[in-house]
């Protein structure tokens, strides 16, 4: 099971934080800080697996992370997930974001946090991997966005009618 998915930049500012288990706000921030602290110390050519986070888990939990340019994508998982599989999942996630945002960069994630959440909701649900096929995910996300846009359009046109 995936316990948390965090995206933060090289200075530790959170860009996305999704927890699949409930913690209160202070604990969440502490977890983000601690994870950043552990991950930023790592060298460039070491392996992508980290153990030893105290807050978010016990002995069973690992941090699997990937560093892309200015962003760290960190998945906190327990032993029931395949580590190499999660590594691939991160890659699929980033590629999906790239397709959805057209050459995604950090600013896209900052200004469209809700969109990123909706994309993630198509991939991971309740801490479990839902869909890994990029095209499928993008199709669904596009359909939902279209639905939302059509609603506002209707809403606006009714407004103009008044």
């Amino acid at each position: 099971m995936i316990k948390a998915i965090l995206i933060f930049n090289n200075h530790g500012k959170p860009r996305l934080s999704k927890f699949y288990e409930h913690y209160n706000e202070d604990t969440e921030q502490q977890i983000i800080r601690e994870t950043f602290h552990l991950v930023s110390k790592r060298d460039e050519n070491v392996c992508n697996f980290l153990e030893g986070g105290l807050l978010i888990g016990g002995l069973d939990y690992k941090l699997i992370y990937r560093h892309y340019a200015t962003l760290y994508f960190v998945f906190c998982v327990d032993s029931s997930e395949s580590e190499l599989g999660i590594l691939d999942l991160i890659q699929v996630f980033v590629e999906t974001l790239d397709k959805c945002f057209e050459n995604v960069c950090e600013l896209d994630l900052i200004f469209h946090v809700d969109k990123v959440h909706h994309i993630l909701a198509e991939m991971v649900m309740g801490g479990m991997v839902l869909e890994t096929n990029m095209n499928e995910i993008i199709t669904q996300v596009d359909a939902q966005n279209k639905m939302e846009k059509s609603e506002t359009f209707i809403f606006q046109s009714t407004r103009q009618d008044r």
């Binding site: 691939d88 839902l130 890994t132 609603e151 506002t152």
Partner: protein, 794 residues
């Protein structure tokens, strides 16, 4: 106007804040505006406000006032509002909040909505934060959705079902039939969800596991389809067809095949095929291979397949990619207990990984190396482990040190090697070892009498080089105190001779005493060691006296007490000193925690107080030995008697009481008092002399346990002080003395003194007790012994 624009404006405003304080200000203003807008009823920008609130929540600011708004948004008919509302519910609500109950109904309605995206929102939220009650309410709905024709909904419903099963185990039964039928789906997403659901169901209940074993052929079929089929652009990831699904199915097969011959047989071919056909140049291929290997090793596979699997792991170990090496070591750890020899073949590579720069790889290598240590490779492995210890990252040191100790204890080829290894660890990582190390090492040294000379020389040299590692210093001080004479003799077969003068030794101990790096416990060790040397050296006794008297006014209570006692030993009881400070007897293997069973009741695992108690307990052994001798002199040598000491009573009572008897006031026992009348009354007077009366009440507590209450009173005209009682019983009886209620008896029976003695007589021997009474009256010390042969009330 898309809903995100106001959100983006706010984000821009927050980002342009230059300081933390400014940012807080901006956010507080925004939150106030949002709160005001929440209070107004229908306005068009509700979703914007909630989105802004969620952003603020991500940054770490409190957002709980948005919970009710989430509930309202979820109930709204508009999709955009629902979407944000559900997102907010997932982020802000959990089962502990009351608001979460309110959304149950909305979720229920949305699950039957005509629009699949609304249904999916509801499913997603339920899977993320559904409480047990919500799950119970909505489980039938989910089951219905599992049978719908829409594959998008089916896959989400499958994962939602997994969450429900996790929350409420009994509902698993409900989903079994639908799960079974989902296996015949073509859509990979649905298949994936189905496999996860079945995995969860099988892990929870063995009966379900039995039922799903019949599905093994179906699963094998699906896997074969994935492995053999040609390139399928939909599911291809770097050349492997849907690796995620493959990994999931392999894991399920592992669970189904465990401990079951039939199922394992059905999978053997498939696993062999996957193992040989998968391309291992990319990470995806390795992921599938890794899962295959784990499955092969876990089920009852044939031996050829097992060899293949271990070889694959060996290849992984040599891979350049650190990730693969890490994974290989993780899986080797899982099989090291079952396939020990196979893993031993890769010992060299694993030991090399100890030197890797990556901390995660090092950690794995350490665990694996410790598991691979055996009697045949102990010397070479220990060399490697010690090199590792000197350069290992600090978070691994404690683990490495304790692992090394365990290994050394189990497989030490010789005592000398064992002691050398422990000393090496203490010098490199002394600060990180556990607290039992010091007493364990001391015990080990005592038991190796032939190496005392060697050990003390080595420790002395270690002490001279470095006094910052506390455990090492403690052991060194103890040894120097015990075996100082061997050190001063100078010659030693095992190491080169070094001339050590008495002054050098005392200098070394004084440096430890005065150093700011020494903890109070270490200082205690050093002081006791200095004292012990007073009997083993000849010239510098005065120097020792002066050191000891200085500490008589030390602020630390422990040191002060010791110094005062030692001073007393010098002054009043000088004749006792040699006997008190002589060599310690060999400590029994198990008795470090009990020392004859009647002393401290606290478990020895307590760190600092434990260590101090050890020292305290070690010392009274000597005067206790003393008392034993004296009791023998009294003529009671028919049955060997076991001396005792008061629990919690300080060693001073011991030391002052014991030497007093050496004055020779040995009273003739049988003539000293009237024979105890065998009165059926429970209270018996056992001693009456010079106005001091001692009575005894005996009560049986259990099969073999009884308590004896001793009461003393004073009917003379003058006060009595320092009243102490000691008791001795036959060897097989265990005795425990509780602390006395007071230690002085005022004149004319002003107050009575009681002391409780707890006895345990498992062998039901004839119970006798010898009680020694000692007190000070009108300036003179009086001591008396009385023997009680029969206990009333028994």
């Amino acid at each position: 106007m898309s809903p995100s624009v106001p959100l983006q404006e706010m984000i821009r405003a927050i980002r342009s804040a230059r300081t933390q304080c400014e940012e807080r200000g901006v956010i507080q203003r925004e939150c106030a505006a949002i709160r005001a807008q929440f209070r107004q009823t229908d306005n068009g920008g509700r979703s914007h406000n909630l989105a802004k609130l969620l952003y603020v929540h991500m940054l770490g600011y409190p957002a709980h006032f948005g919970q009710m708004e989430c509930v309202r948004m979820i109930a709204s008919p508009r999709y955009s509002e629902k979407r944000v509302g559900y997102l907010g519910a997932m982020m802000l609500l959990d089962e502990k909040q009351d608001a979460s109950l309110l959304i149950t109904n909305s979720i229920k309605n949305d699950l039957s909505h005509s629009n699949q995206y609304v249904q999916s929102l509801a499913l997603c939220t339920l899977a993320c934060m559904g409480s047990a009650e919500m799950c119970r309410d909505l489980a039938p709905e989910i089951d219905r959705l599992l049978r719908s024709s829409n594959s998008y909904i089916k896959k989400k419903a499958a994962l939602c079902a997994v969450h429900i099963v996790r929350k409420v185990h009994e509902l698993g039964e409900l989903f079994v039939p639908s799960a079974r039928s989902l296996l015949s789906e073509k859509n990979h997403g649905v298949l994936h969800g189905a496999v996860v659901l079945i995995t969860e169901l099988c892990e929870r209940s063995p009966e379900t596991l039995e039922r799903f074993r019949k599905a093994v052929p179906d699963l094998v079929q699906i896997m074969k389809g994935l492995v053999i089929s040609g390139y399928s652009p939909d599911h291809d990831v770097a050349g492997v067809s849907d690796p995620f699904l493959q990994v999931r199915i392999l894991r399920l097969l592992r669970i189904l095949g465990r401990n079951n011959e039939a199922a394992s047989d059905a999978m053997n071919d498939l696993l062999a095929q996957v193992a040989t056909n998968t391309d291992s140049t990319k990470t995806v291929g390795n992921a599938v291979l890794y899962e295959t290997v784990l499955s092969v090793l876990d089920i009852k596979s044939e031996s050829g397949l097992r060899v293949l699997a271990v070889n694959i792991l060996g290849r992984f170990l040599l891979n350049n990619d650190r990730n693969i090496r890490y994974i290989a070591m993780t899986s080797l750890q899982k099989i090291v207990s079952t396939d020990h020899n196979a893993v031993q073949r890769h010992r060299g590579t694993i030991v090399d990984c100890l030197k890797d720069q990556d901390a995660s790889v090092k950690r794995r290598a350490l665990e694996l190396s410790l598991a691979l240590v055996s009697a045949s490779n102990i010397r070479s492995m220990m060399k490697e482990l010690l090199i590792f210890l000197s350069s290992c990252p600090p978070e691994l040191r404690a683990h490495a040190a304790s692992g090394i100790f365990n290994a050394a204890e189990r497989y030490a080829p010789s005592k000398r090697w064992h002691i050398d290894t422990i000393l090496h660890v203490l010098t490199t990582a002394g600060g990180d070892v556990r607290d039992e190390t010091v007493p364990n090492l001391i015990q080990l040294i005592t038991n190796t009498s032939e190496l005392h000379c060697y050990t003390v020389h080595k420790l002395y040299r270690a002490l001279l080089t470095d006094i910052s590692q506390q455990p090492l210093v403690q052991v060194a001080c103890w040894c120097i105190g015990e075996y100082g004479d061997l050190l001063l003799k100078g010659e030693c077969q095992e190491t080169e001779a070094v001339q050590v003068t008495e002054d050098d030794v005392l200098d070394a101990l004084e440096i430890v005493l005065q150093s700011h790096m020494s903890t109070p416990t270490t200082r205690g060790f050093a002081l006791t060691a200095t004292m012990k040397l007073s009997t083993r050296i000849t010239d510098n006794v005065d120097r020792i006296r002066s050191i000891v008297s200085i500490y008589g006014s030390c602020i630390d209570v422990e040191l002060q007490q010791r110094a005062v006692e030692y001073n007393a030993l010098f002054k009043k009881y000088d004749h006792m000193r040699a006997a008190v400070l002589e060599r310690m007897p060999v400590i029994q293997k198990n008795s470090l925690g009990q020392t004859n069973g009647e002393l401290s009741e606290e478990p020895i695992k307590e760190s600092q107080p434990g260590k101090v108690k050890q020292e305290e307990m070690a010392l009274p052994q000597q005067p206790a030995g003393q008392v034993c001798d004296l009791l023998d002199l009294l003529g009671g040598s028919q049955e060997p008697l076991q001396p005792s000491s008061s629990v919690g009573g300080s060693a001073s009572a011991q030391l002052t009481a014991a030497p007093a008897s050496a004055g020779g006031d040995l009273l003739d026992l049988l003539g000293g008092f009237e024979p105890t009348p065998l009165v059926p009354a429970p209270t018996v007077t056992v001693y009456e002399k010079n106005g001091v009366t001692l009575t005894l009440i005996c009560e049986r507590q259990s099969e073999s346990g009884l308590t004896v209450t001793l009461t003393a009173s004073n009917s003379t005209d003058s006060d009595i002080s320092s009243f102490t009682l000691q008791a001795a019983v036959p060897k097989s009886v265990q005795l425990q003395m509780r602390a006395p209620s007071r230690d002085s008896l005022p004149a004319h029976g002003g107050a009575k003194l009681t002391q409780l003695v707890v006895l345990n007589n498992p062998n039901k021997v004839n119970l006798k007790m010898r009680i020694r009474v000692s007190y000070t009256c009108q300036g003179s010390v009086v001591q008396d012994t009385v023997q009680v042969d029969s206990f009333p009330g028994l």
